[in-house]
């Protein structure tokens, strides 16, 4: 079958950040300049094995910009050359903390990333720091770089992790911050989970978080959906327009269409797994045949998860199964230690789904 396949490319685990809530194991490990041809020929093998029309490559780290613009340009050129002869369309996406952005990145982002940058910003910032910047300094530096990137003509999109102070500030303040102060169009709320050896982020109380998300949804609706605020935007599109793709945490099985590749070719389910939960990795690109990696028992654990979750007494009877499928495996494992448990945020998701559905039903009535 032909279709899309996504790869979270992690060319480096090096990072200029020292964020206390990071789930990644930061290290200097990176793909060397001379390794790019081999690296991408392996990625191409993988794409051919999956028989894809289109490969979505999500460049993440660590911090990609730590490798330098010249190295990344070279990598992108090698990637383009490698795939030039077999009809697989490439779509590059960039995730960066922006702090190292300068004009050297301008041509690269315009040419390969279609002028789009995905970055992270929390409100308030409790955890994001560097060796030289505290939380407040980090935010100031980020705003400076964001301004620079926008002046260069780029669109900056935000991924944000709510924290305990976010919930205290409330949905109105949170929404207003991104809409008016940050001034971006696309914001995606991710659901935080603890790293392997980290006590951060401080867990959110589920009922409070659910209240917050429900209120935020209403604030968003009342603002005429001014921002493309996810997961709400994707959820409404899916439920009422039957279009688009839901966030990966609500896909039937992320193992069907996504892997992450570390600098040394380790393949895991996604960036949340590949460096930190290495015993769950599928194999090593270039050292094993691709089919061995894709039929590995480790990948099988992920592929079997929804079929296992449907037998969970809650999931099997749940009216939202068709858009949740037991939720995200990392958010199950991180909180319970069990891959085959429900996503920790299940009660929050249910409240979100109910709010979106109720709003849609009300809207249908209002529209006759």
């Amino acid at each position: 079958m032909r279709g899309d396949f996504s790869i979270v490319l992690i060319p480096t685990f090096a990072c200029n950040g020292a964020c206390s809530h990071c789930f990644e194991k930061i290290s200097p490990q990176s793909v060397n300049r001379e390794e790019w041809p081999e690296y991408f020929s392996r990625i191409k093998e993988l794409a051919n094995y999956k028989k894809v029309d289109k490969l979505l490559l999500y460049w993440q780290g660590g911090e990609v910009m730590m490798m330098g613009a010249r190295a990344i340009r070279k990598a992108l050129e090698v990637c383009a050359d490698t795939f030039s002869d077999d009809g697989i369309a490439l779509e590059h996406h960039l995730q960066t903390n922006l702090l190292l952005y300068d004009r050297k990145w301008r041509e690269i982002i315009a040419r390969y990333f279609r002028g789009n940058i995905s970055s992270s910003l929390d409100y308030p910032n409790l955890y994001r720091v560097t060796a030289g910047l505290d939380c407040a300094g980090y935010v100031d530096a980020w705003f400076e770089k964001k301004k620079q990137a926008e002046a260069d003509g780029f669109v900056v999109n935000i991924i944000t992790l709510p924290n305990v102070s976010t919930l205290e500030l409330g949905a109105v303040e949170f929404y207003s911050y991104f809409k008016d102060r940050v001034g971006v169009s696309n914001v995606q709320i991710n659901f935080p989970f603890p790293g392997l050896d980290s006590e951060k982020p401080e867990p959110l109380k589920l009922d409070r978080f659910a209240d917050f998300m429900e209120e935020l949804y209403q604030v968003w609706v009342d603002s005429d959906r001014y921002l493309n605020l996810n997961p709400f935007y994707a959820l409404e599109n899916r439920l009422y327009g039957n279009t688009g793709r839901l966030p990966c945490c609500w896909s039937y099985n992320c193992a069907d269409y996504l892997v992450a590749v570390s600098p040394d070719g380790d393949i895991g389910q996604c960036d949340c797994w590949v460096a930190t939960h290495t015993d769950y990795n599928f194999g090593l690109l270039g050292r094993q045949p691709i089919d061995e990696i894709f039929t590995s028992p480790e990948r099988g654990r992920f592929l079997n998860r929804p079929a296992t979750m449907i037998n969970d007494p809650d999931c099997g009877q749940c009216p939202y199964w068709m858009i949740c499928f037991g939720g995200c495996p990392i958010r199950a494992l991180s909180f319970t230690g069990d891959l085959y448990s429900k996503d920790y945020y299940c009660p929050v998701y249910k409240r979100i789904f109910a709010a979106v559905i109720e709003c849609g039903q009300k809207g249908d009535r209002e529209n006759g």
Partner: protein, 282 residues
């Protein structure tokens, strides 16, 4: 040669009725999974494949069924379809599920992929609660995008919003459209009739023999036959949608769970119609 009319869809095993003109629904099972030969033998006469067991989960088999209509049993291994989902999406599958303890879970799982589910009417439901939970899911789950039969068709009859269907239509037991040929060559209306020794005839007969057989004539005008025979079904409040289907083969067949479920379906329709009547703009 039987020489069935073209409008008949015959449920057959591979190799049967090769020289006929009728449409065919080919039954496959672990003893014969040669879909390529079957497709080549029947070409445009092939309407769909029906799997009698879980053998469709054999690796690579669904890949061979691309663009085909397929009827699949939702047995104990149904949750393995997640591993075949890419291939299944290239087909038009309908899953038949028995009304047992796992029904709702199976419906939830199958409909999660956007596939259709058909509740198996041949097997008595394990309880009324199982059926009403399935009906409730069909009526009220806001995420559901696919039909669950027989509710979906019968609801149109009850609500008078579309063509009038009975269980004889939804269960592919229309004398004018359906024929079943057993592995031994007996010709009947469906598997349940054949399994109870009720056949029209055999492959040795002609169509003229079949359509003048006592069973065929009775089933062709089943409502009249029920009145003539003073069947209890004619007094049933669901005669319009069941028309004696559930007890047709076995008069002792326990139809109470379905009767109760149909009651709830009618109540839901009435309630919806009342809401709409009182709110005409909606």
């Amino acid at each position: 040669m039987l020489n069935l009319p073209k409008n008949i869809k015959a449920s057959i095993l591979p190799g049967q009725l090769l020289d006929d003109n009728c449409g065919v629904s080919i039954r496959l099972n672990q003893n014969n999974l040669d879909v390529e030969t079957a497709a080549a033998d029947y070409q445009s006469r092939l309407f769909n494949f029906e799997f009698e067991d879980d053998s469709y989960l054999e690796p690579g088999l669904i890949d061979k069924l691309e663009r085909r209509r397929i009827k699949l049993t939702a047995g104990d291994r149904i949750f393995e379809i997640g591993r075949r989902i890419g291939s299944l999406r290239n087909t038009s599958p309908v899953f038949t599920a028995v009304a047992d303890e796992g029904l709702l879970k199976k419906i939830n799982f199958i409909c999660g992929f956007g596939f259709q589910v058909h509740i198996d009417m041949d097997v008595p439901p394990a309880s009324v609660e199982i059926l009403t939970a399935a009906l409730d899911f069909y009526l009220h789950n806001p995420l559901l995008r696919t039909p669950i039969e027989p509710f979906h068709s019968l609801l149109k009859t009850v609500a008078r919003t579309g063509p009038k269907f009975t269980l004889w239509d939804t269960e592919y037991e229309k004398t004018t459209a359906n024929i079943y040929v057993s592995d031994g060559g007996a010709v009947s209306l469906s598997a349940r009739w054949h399994n109870n020794g009720l056949n029209y005839g055999s492959l040795e007969n002609s169509w003229a023999d079949i359509d003048t057989s006592p069973l065929y004539k009775r089933l062709s005008s089943i409502a009249a036959a029920l009145f003539r025979e003073k069947s209890a079904c004619i007094f049933c409040r669901h005669m319009d949608i069941c028309c004696g289907f559930l007890k047709a083969v076995d008069k002792a067949w326990p139809c109470d769970p379905w009767v109760e479920t149909f009651d709830k379906m009618r109540a839901a329709v009435k309630s919806a119609q009342t809401i709409l009547k009182n709110n005409p703009g909606e």
